[in-house]
Symmetry: C2
DNA sequence: AGGAGATGAGAAAAGGGTTTCTCAAATTTT
DNA sequence: AAAATTTGAGAAACCCTTTTCTCATCTCCT
């Protein structure tokens, strides 16, 4: 039960005094700059090490104009997408000594502004905006900021650097996998019409079918909500018809889960009678379906890593290709 | 395709010059300290506003010894627990102008040290340690740091401030709910023996049964893994016996999901024949079960908020009750 | 030996604020 | 009217590091 007093840290001044030199010399010794004898440099370093000296990053930043800090802004409260992206960013940047402020702004413009202001006040070197929909922007305009911004998994201005998974290629691979399994009557059960990813995946689905020489029909694309329930319903719809599919490509893993459960309830064999492929590789869902779900992984961690690298380059004033970067998806083959 | 140059920010110096006063006066005008005429103060403020002046938080921190920054350290890569906690912390602290560094350290001691050092270098005011198991510490010793530390949902030293959900009360409420539904043959299907929460929830389960005047038997507690599969298996075990339960309290929502699915497959009515209660209120699971799962919510966001508040008090040198704080859980009644 | 160049290290300014003094001018008191 | 306060605002020190100068001392060359 206490508010303890915490020891104040060792400063460069302390080190310099202990080593019997000026702080200028001490600074130079530790940064491997300036001119001095090897003995002096060694002695100062030894003293610093012994005293456990760690330079105050704030003071450093004040002169260097670099805080080695970036802000990550997200409206994905649930974190399904943000966390892998965050992990990638963090992993890619910690080697450069960069730390990440995570700010969840929901869809609240005031809150978003508060967070952005707080980040700018703290002199972040840059900002990464991320979200859960690639066709909706965050509730705040980041285009006129005094620091560079990279967009990942969210909509940004067209002249910005934006990283997105290559949904279309992912969808194509999913279909190709189904075709390779010998499936010929393939349908697509996906989310609501309003989502860009729904459009893109559906287009790629149709295109892949065509390339495979299979008939393409509008009826093969069923749109609903992003839920297990819709997966069930879709199976009901499909199986109330005469011609049942032998391959189902789902718009996300939850729908796939619903589809698989519904098929199993009907006694349809998976993957014996029907093969199912999901999208997202949300492991908590995909690994628990029976059988485990074959699905498309968006490699979000890698996407985060690249977003971090891109931001770093912008911060360093290097040139970076503007526009949309589509990063490859990977088909994860499991048992479905 | 460019590394743009970004406008440098307005400094106090700029404001002072524009207002025709010294920076000392400008500083005092904006902070509502010092002595000056109301006209001067007003003029300076107006100028600052017009110029869009925002003080450099780094410079402020250098003198104030407060960075208004805290570090959140977690080993919960998947974020199931960390994200709600993070959201609560952030929500509770942003009003005080505090931003949060999120660092995921997995179980890697080196990585953890790197992150902790980076945070300390950046002069965080304090650190919150969080994880996915209340009986395992993070892979780094935070007890001798120069800043206060609060533990949430992870093991810390006994003299530290540690916030945990009140698992026992949550479990009791779950059982009481089952009893109130008229259930008399209640069993507990939970996770592996090694977990402290398993022990605690099981103890509370037994105690609650006893209080309700129901027979308590060791056989009523089935331990397995934290998975849907184990939920299925447990139902198999239970239904291979003569006396089947009419109430099942599960150690987490995934197990509950497995139990519900298995029961439905057997044609057992939920909640007609058997009531099921889960633990965690992992909405993505709980809301998609059929019927939706009644479960115990650990109020992690509130836990995070309180962790933030506690840390702030420690930072301010206020006294804080050491030891373990058990925060209430809430039963969320849905359809099971 | 005298001057040029190299060497080692410190003084001082800068970075953007806060805060404690100091001090002249204005106001109040006697 | 002279002395004592109060008021308004600036000078300067400080927070911690970096970096550019400056300068005294050595070493080397002719």
């Amino acid at each position: 039960m206490a508010g303890a007093d915490f020891a104040s840290r060792v400063t460069l001044n302390d080190v310099a005094a202990a080593a019997g030199v000026s702080i200028a010399t001490a600074s130079k010794a530790l940064n491997d700059t300036g001119r001095m004898s090897v003995e002096t440099r060694g002695r100062i370093r030894r003293v610093a090490l012994e005293m456990g000296f760690r330079p105050n990053a704030l003071a450093k930043s004040l002169t260097s104009k670099r805080s080695f800090t970036v802000g990550l802004l997200t409206n994905d409260t649930y974190g399904r997408f943000t966390l892998p992206v965050m992990a990638g960013i963090s992993e890619g940047l910690i080697d450069h000594g960069v730390s990440v402020f995570l700010c969840t702004v929901e869809d609240n413009p005031e809150l978003a502004k508060i967070h952005v202001d707080a980040m700018l006040d703290k002199q972040v070197d840059g900002i990464i905006a991320t979200g859960k929909r690639i066709d909706k922007p965050l509730p705040v305009d980041l285009s006129k900021l005094s620091v560079p911004v990279v967009y990942a998994l969210t909509a940004g201005p067209s002249d910005a650097v934006t990283l997105l998974p290559d949904d279309q290629r992912g969808a194509r691979e999913a279909v190709q996998h189904l075709v390779a399994q010998g499936r010929r009557r393939i349908v697509h059960v996906t989310g609501p019409r309003g989502f860009r990813v729904v459009q893109e995946r559906a287009d790629a689905f149709a295109e892949a079918l065509e390339r495979a020489g299979l008939p393409v029909s509008d009826a093969a694309i069923l749109r609903g909500e992003w839920s297990e329930r819709w997966g069930h319903e879709a199976v009901e719809v499909l199986w109330s018809d005469d011609a049942q599919p032998d391959g189902i490509f789902c718009g996300n893993d939850q729908i796939a889960r619903g589809v698989i459960d519904a098929l199993r309830e009907r006694g349809v064999g998976i993957p014996g009678d029907v093969s199912v492929v999901g999208f997202d590789n949300w492991e908590i869902v995909a690994e628990q379906t029976r059988p485990p779900l074959t699905t498309v992984d968006m490699n979000l961690k890698e996407l985060g890593r690249q977003a971090g690298q891109a931001l770093l380059r912008l911060v360093n004033g290097e040139t970076v290709q503007r526009g949309i970067w589509k990063l490859p998806c990977t088909l994860v083959v499991r048992g479905s």
